[in-house]
């Protein structure tokens, strides 16, 4: 029996796990996918919002502003990338300018520091690529960007190092409460605990509604994105939002901490809570609307498209804290945007509540986060030289686009909470994230994964489940049917 079970290994679940690991509590995190951060956390805008957007008095507003204030410190401690690149909400007509003032007022009410209005000249000085219709903007100095999956992997690893268990590939198929004990059914058997944290993202309603009379509904609201090659990273310094108009909410353009550029998202309610496909209509819309901010989008240089699902709750706000009718059930539900930003605040708050409920005090010692090394691609000449001299595996570059050496791939696999899939390596070492999207390095990474994990390459997956990369070896193939043509025989079968 555990003290606490956390359902969901997104940024919220991982952050809560890390905060709970500070207490004298046994903690287990159950994640149905093959890795943490495989849900909404891997596919969003990655903006650390300033907090002028949320309705004053809401949980969103409160945790957004508090989360933003904590974010930089968290990223520094965990050594994951964060950049306070500022946010700009741009008005593209004179009619939209008054709306900016409303945003400033709302932001001040929410307690957001560093808000000001800038005129067109100042906007163009800061962002020379902004479209010709821009008239002025709201500048939010506390706006930032981060890497959500790196953050989540680091948080989960830190929790692990401090005694929490992280169980991947473990879906909770049913949950009940018996004699004050929560029992999560999983294919690997039941998991019992005194308290339960529901951080199941778009599925948080299913979990809550099995336990509480106070039900709610979460709708998956899909957002689609396009990503540009890092050559265009410098196109914009700030995150560029469009002033919402009666015509729509607009789409944003932002540099990422990895210097690529993201354009999006759309917003579409969908039935199927796992449907993260992109659509022709959605991607078209992103391009069309983003062109207002950036007329010369270099459409030849997209490297990928992706979609994420907002966990939109019918109560229009985050649902945080203990369920009134189920002692020990703590919800972190309906965590749509700005959930990433709010994660640190939500985690500190919920962990405190759980610890209070279980009357647990803090541990005497708390181990520091897993020490990561500076990536080779960011090292200077002298650092590279030292790294290669100490470990020749730093001298063999596996991913040419992101300059990832073999040593870093091995590290991604061997580290605590190491990668077991191609995407797992990609999220830990960046191999395959660049402009060729793994065309060059995937076969090499598969070889290393196979060697390190002792699993044949044909069993390896992109992201767990049935996402196998290969269909077998040549020896296992059926005889080809005879054909008119002839390939040089002898080479046909290896």
């Amino acid at each position: 029996m555990f003290d606490v079970t956390i359902i969901g290994g997104g940024v919220i679940g991982a952050a809560i796990a890390r905060e709970l690991a500070r207490y004298r509590l046994s903690v287990v995190l159950l994640e149905r996918k093959s890795d943490v951060a495989e849900g909404t956390t891997k596919a969003n805008s990655a903006i650390i919002h300033a907090g002028y957007d949320a309705k004053p008095g809401s949980q969103k507003a409160r945790t957004n502003v508090a989360g933003n204030a904590l974010f930089e410190g968290w990223c520094a401690e965990l050594d994951v990338p964060f950049r306070r690149n500022t946010s700009l909400v741009v008005a593209f007509s004179d009619d939209d300018l008054p709306g900016l003032e409303d945003l400033v007022a709302r932001g001040r009410e929410n307690g957001v520091p560093g808000l000001s209005l800038i005129d067109e000249a100042e906007l163009r000085r800061r962002e020379p690529n902004i479209g010709p219709k821009a008239r002025g903007a709201l500048l939010a100095e506390t706006g930032g960007i981060c890497c959500p999956y790196e953050l989540t992997i680091s948080l989960a690893t830190h929790a692990l190092l401090n005694g929490a268990e992280i169980r991947l590939n473990t879906p909770v198929t049913a949950v009940r409460r018996e004699n004050g004990v929560f029992v999560c059914q999983t294919p690997q058997g039941p998991v019992a605990s005194r308290a339960l944290v529901n951080a199941a993202g778009v599925y948080a309603d299913t979990i809550n509604n099995q336990l509480s009379e106070d039900t709610f509904t979460i709708t998956a609201r899909r957002g689609e994105y396009l990503m540009l090659d890092k050559r265009f990273g410098p196109a914009f310094q700030a995150t560029i939002f469009q002033m919402p108009t009666p015509m729509g909410k607009g789409v944003l353009i932002t540099p990422t901490v990895e210097d690529t550029v993201i354009l999006g998202p759309t917003a579409e309610d969908i039935e199927d809570k796992d449907d993260v496909r992109t659509t022709a209509g959605g991607l078209d819309q992103v391009l069309r609307v983003a062109a207002l901010s950036w007329p010369q989008i270099p459409t030849r240089h997209f490297i990928t498209a992706f979609a994420g699902l907002r966990a939109h709750c019918d109560r229009n706000d985050f649902i945080l804290g203990e369920a009134a009718d189920v002692p020990g059930l703590f919800n972190a539900a309906g965590i749509e945007s700005p959930g990433l930003t709010a994660a640190p605040a939500i985690a500190v708050e919920l962990a405190g509540q759980v610890a209070d409920r279980l009357s647990a005090g803090k541990k005497d010692s708390f181990k520091p986060p897993y020490a990561t090394r500076k990536p080779f691609r960011l090292m200077n000449q002298a650092e590279r030289e030292t790294a290669v001299a100490a470990d020749p595996a730093y001298g063999r570059i596996i991913c040419r686009c992101e300059s990832v050496p073999e040593a870093e791939i091995l590290e991604a696999i061997r580290r605590p909470l190491g990668a077991t899939t191609l995407d797992g390596v990609k999220r830990r070492a960046r191999a395959g994230m660049g402009r060729c999207q793994g065309g060059f390095c995937a076969p090499r990474v598969l070889e290393l994964l196979s060697r390190e994990l002792g699993v044949p390459q044909t069993e390896l997956t992109k992201f767990g489940g049935a996402s196998r990369i290969l269909c077998g070896t040549l020896g296992e193939m059926p005889e080809p049917q005879p054909r008119a043509g002839q390939e040089r025989t002898g080479e046909t079968h290896a």
Binding site: Q381, Q437, G438, C471, P480, A484
Partner: protein, 427 residues
């Protein structure tokens, strides 16, 4: 940092381009030379091209890719030309300082007298096309699939759709069929194949693989592993899918052969300007880029169809680089404004983009691709508005690089300012 080595000629890339350049320069007397190759062996992309059809022009016989590469590797070895494999070049400065890394030698810096860029090209990934759908397993480029099958005996899929009818796509359609997979269709956006005609016949027709011209993949289905794709016919003019023509194909693999991009990250770090059309460096007739002492040849310069042309072009680069090392200032008159070479009607991606003075050699080797299929075509070369050369071609397609050799005697090299090449349909 250990001492910076000094080497007259550093060649980046040990594929057919780098090897041919090395052999030519060596034979002409350049013995301070080093070839750097990131793979564990020389030969470049040819090592995975185990089909035949290489070498008809250079060796007058049909070789496989590895056999062709081997001819050059042997020439390199016989001469004792220094090369270093498992070595990735990380950076080139505009002053030709080369930084490379390898497990055996660590991080090294080399001050090169001249550099030949011979890094080849890479494949366009799915993201470049923004094909909607899921990001599931079972989607890869044909070159990656070729490597898996031919070098590692691994099978990327069993029921396959190929998008793009470039040569690699065509060759992989045949290859996958021959290993026992089922290739359901080869889907091509354009109304013509972008591959060599002989490959369309030998790789698709001979195996009854349908070639769906003016079609594209408009959606990708499958949660974890690919389960199918939706294809549709496209409008000839707009290349947009025509509603009502959608068709689903159940398959487990989508192979992409949607274009090759010259691999010029290093060229950019050296300050070399690239062409928007070829995506390779802008060069003159000596394959010299706009950075002094930096030359380019092979697929890094422009994507070739035939390796034989790569070898020929690269040998010229080797000789030109050596000439530059011997006399960086060049012959008298080389500081004069060069002649510009321009894409005219129906022409895309002419190389070289300029002719430096004095105008040598006596024949200028110009290559380009027509922008569409032309039958009964005429290549017309204009110098400052005046037609100086016409050549007839029965058929020209974008899949086959066109070559014209322009004799410099046809115009006054001293006064010429601009050369334009057109493709016209003969009256």
């Amino acid at each position: 940092m250990p001492e910076i080595r000094k080497i007259d000629l550093v060649i980046i890339g040990g594929g057919p381009a780098g090897l041919a350049a090395a052999v030519a320069a060596w034979d002409d007397g350049c013995h301070s030379l080093l070839v750097l190759e990131r793979d564990v062996r020389l030969g470049g992309i040819l090592q995975q091209c185990i089909h035949n059809g290489f070498g008809l022009h250079v060796f007058h016989e049909e070789l496989t890719g590895p056999e062709y590469a081997d001819r050059y590797i042997r020439q390199v070895q016989e001469r004792g030309i220094p090369f270093q494999c498992d070595t990735m070049v990380l950076d080139i400065s505009p002053q030709r300082l080369v930084t490379a890394v390898s497990p055996a030698h660590g991080l090294v810096q080399i001050q090169a007298g001249a550099i030949i860029l011979a890094m080849g090209c890479r494949e366009r990934p799915r993201g470049a096309l923004a094909i909607p759908g899921t990001n599931c397993a079972g989607i890869m480029t044909t070159g990656t699939a070729q490597r898996l099958v031919n070098l590692e005996s691994l099978v990327p899929g069993r029921r396959i759709v190929i998008l793009g009818s470039g040569d690699i796509g065509l060759i992989m359609a045949r290859r996958m069929t021959c290993i026992g997979a089922k290739v359901l269709a080869c889907v091509e956006l354009m109304p013509f194949s972008s591959g060599l005609t002989r490959n369309v016949v030998q790789c698709l027709h001979d195996y009854d693989i349908p070639l769906l011209l003016s079609h594209t993949v408009i959606a990708i289905e499958g949660r974890e592993r690919l389960t199918g794709v939706t294809i549709a016919e496209v409008d000839l003019a707009t290349r947009k899918p025509i509603p009502g023509t959608e068709e689903q194909i159940a398959c487990d693999t989508l192979l992409l052969s949607v274009g090759l991009i010259p691999e010029n990250e290093l060229s950019l770090s050296a300050g070399v300007s690239l062409s928007e059309v070829t995506q390779g460096p802008l060069v003159d007739q000596n394959l010299l880029t706009d950075v002094p002492g930096v030359f380019a040849c092979g697929n890094v310069l422009h994507v070739h169809d035939l390796v034989d042309e790569v070898s020929e072009e690269s040998a010229r680069a080797g000789l030109a680089a050596l000439a530059w090392i011997r006399d960086p200032a060049g012959p008298a008159g080389s500081s004069l404004e060069p002649i510009r070479v321009r894409d005219g009607k129906g022409v895309r991606g002419i190389v070289p983009q300029q002719i430096s003075r004095p105008v040598q050699p006596p024949k200028l080797h110009l290559t380009f691709r027509p922008d569409a299929v032309y039958k009964q075509a005429t290549i017309r070369v204009e110098v400052d508005g005046e037609t100086v050369l016409r050549q007839k071609r029965l058929i020209m397609t974008p899949g086959e690089m066109a070559v014209v050799d322009l004799p410099t005697g046809r115009f006054d090299p001293a006064s010429a300012r601009e050369i334009t090449v057109h493709v016209e349909v003969s009256a």
